[in-house]
């Protein structure tokens, strides 16, 4: 107990209250205070007298500072979201307006954010829709292309069939004296009796609207009607199937009025060829 008294009289407690101690001294004083109630009580006494001393020297700050300080702390209170639930005291008007203003601006910003989102969505939707339209158009175009290609492939297949099938006989018809540059290729199947004209190979003079070419088969020296055909307007692939015939020694083509004739007009013969 004697050293407690000496400790109190050393003056360290005064320095402690005046916060004029090193960190080590501070920790030591706190340890002593926790251990000895007399020291704790002495510290409290010193604190109280310093507090009263400060009160003696108190200076009132200007009145409007109270509002300013309270507002700045109460805004923090709003931030902390820890407003007291028991509002028994009347609040100052200007204290209340602050959270209200904060609320309004919150809705303002929220509304602005919603509007922006809506605009972005609408813009996105329009964009997406036009892209969809574009894709649909492309898809349709691709489908058309696809059909065309499929047709062409089957046509080529048919063509190839003609050359592969040994039953087909390929005959090149050559131009007559009247049209020496004319030429065409046809194929005749002696088993299925089919006759095919190879359209790309047609090299015949252009004819007018009133006339068509007519194919004739030469059977035992007599011409037999094999049907009419037009010169293709543009480059076309494929073969054109004509009437069937069981046997023929040769073929010839004449220019006839639309729909063909019963007998060939001999002076209008453009190509002829025999096996």
């Amino acid at each position: 107990m004697e050293n407690v008294k000496a400790y109190i009289e050393s003056g360290i407690l005064e320095l402690y209250v005046l916060s004029d101690t090193s960190a080590t001294e501070k920790a030591q004083v706190e340890e002593m205070a926790a251990k000895y109630p007399e020291i704790r009580a002495e510290i409290t006494e010193i604190e109280k007298s310093m507090e009263l001393y400060a009160e003696e020297h108190a200076v009132e700050p200007s009145e409007n500072l109270r509002t300013k300080v309270l507002n700045s702390l109460i805004v923090n209170l709003g931030d902390d979201n820890t407003f007291s639930k028991t509002v028994t005291r009347q609040d100052d008007d200007n204290i209340r307006t602050i959270p209200a203003a904060r609320l309004t601006s919150f809705y303002k910003y929220a509304f602005a954010a919603c509007l922006t989102l809506l605009l972005i969505s609408v813009y996105g939707l329009v964009n997406l829709y036009s892209k969809l339209q574009e894709s649909n158009t492309q898809l349709a175009a691709l489908q058309t292309d696809n059909t065309k290609i499929a047709n062409q492939v089957s046509l080529r297949d048919n063509e190839l069939q003609v050359y592969r099938d040994t039953a087909f006989k390929v005959l090149k018809l050559k131009g007559t004296a009247k049209t020496p540059s004319a030429a065409m290729v046809l194929a005749w199947n002696s088993i299925s009796k089919k006759v095919m004209v190879d359209v790309p190979s047609l090299k015949l003079p252009q004819h007018d609207e009133q006339h068509q070419y007519q194919l004739w088969a030469l059977v035992n020296g007599k011409p037999v009607d094999m049907g009419v055909f037009d010169l293709p307007k543009a480059d076309t692939a494929g073969v054109k199937e004509m009437k069937a015939i069981a046997s023929a020694q040769g073929f010839a083509v004449t220019l006839e009025p639309n729909g063909g004739s019963i007998n060939p007009t001999m002076d209008q013969m453009v190509v002829i060829g025999t096996f």
Binding site: E47, E51, L73
Partner: protein, 184 residues
């Protein structure tokens, strides 16, 4: 804001209310301690507007760092007056303050406070109730340097040209004197 509605709570109630972040605690805190704290700040900063800024900063800091206060280590005011004193001294040291005071040539806070002391000690400037008879002048000057100005007792000894042991004794005697005075 009229002063007639000043709120006062017991220290325990106030500490509890501050811990619960109650609005009433903020008002009570201000009403109970603003003048005492402002008295301390005004001793360090004579410019009233700047001193009031520091007082506001003090309350903000008290509010924000209240979890750092522990009643076992001492009374609330002791803790708060340290915050106020440190903020005021920081302010005096800040470049900002030196520019405002147009005291660019001042190099440190001690010399600045020295210069200021002459003005601050004028009673008419302080406008406070002085404890004229209680403290001997040599006790008061030491106590005020340490308590109001944040001097260490070592700095006070140098400042006043008095041995360190004497300073400590006088400080203790001054506070004993105060205790007697307030207990009367």
């Amino acid at each position: 804001m009229s002063p007639k509605r000043k709120i006062s709570l017991s220290e325990e109630d106030l500490v509890l209310a501050l811990r619960n972040r109650e609005k009433i605690a903020v008002e009570a805190l201000y009403d109970m301690y603003s003048a005492s704290l402002f008295g301390v700040i005004s001793r360090i900063i004579t410019d009233e507007a700047i001193a009031e800024d520091v007082l506001q900063e003090t309350f903000v800091k008290i509010w924000h760092s209240f979890s750092g206060y522990s009643a076992e280590k001492g009374r609330l005011f002791t803790w708060m007056v340290n915050i106020a004193r440190n903020l005021a001294i920081d302010k005096v040291r800040s470049k900002d303050f030196k520019n405002q005071s147009k005291n660019h040539e001042l190099e440190n806070n001690v010399t600045f406070i020295d210069e200021q002391r002459n003005t601050v000690y004028k009673p008419e400037l302080l406008g406070i109730r002085e404890l004229v008879s209680t403290l001997k002048p040599e006790q008061k000057s030491i106590l005020d340097l340490v308590y109001f100005k944040g001097y260490t007792h070592v700095e006070a000894a140098e400042e006043l040209g008095i041995p360190l042991g004497t300073i400590k004794t006088r400080l203790r005697m001054a506070i004993i004197q105060l205790r007697k005075h307030f207990n009367e």
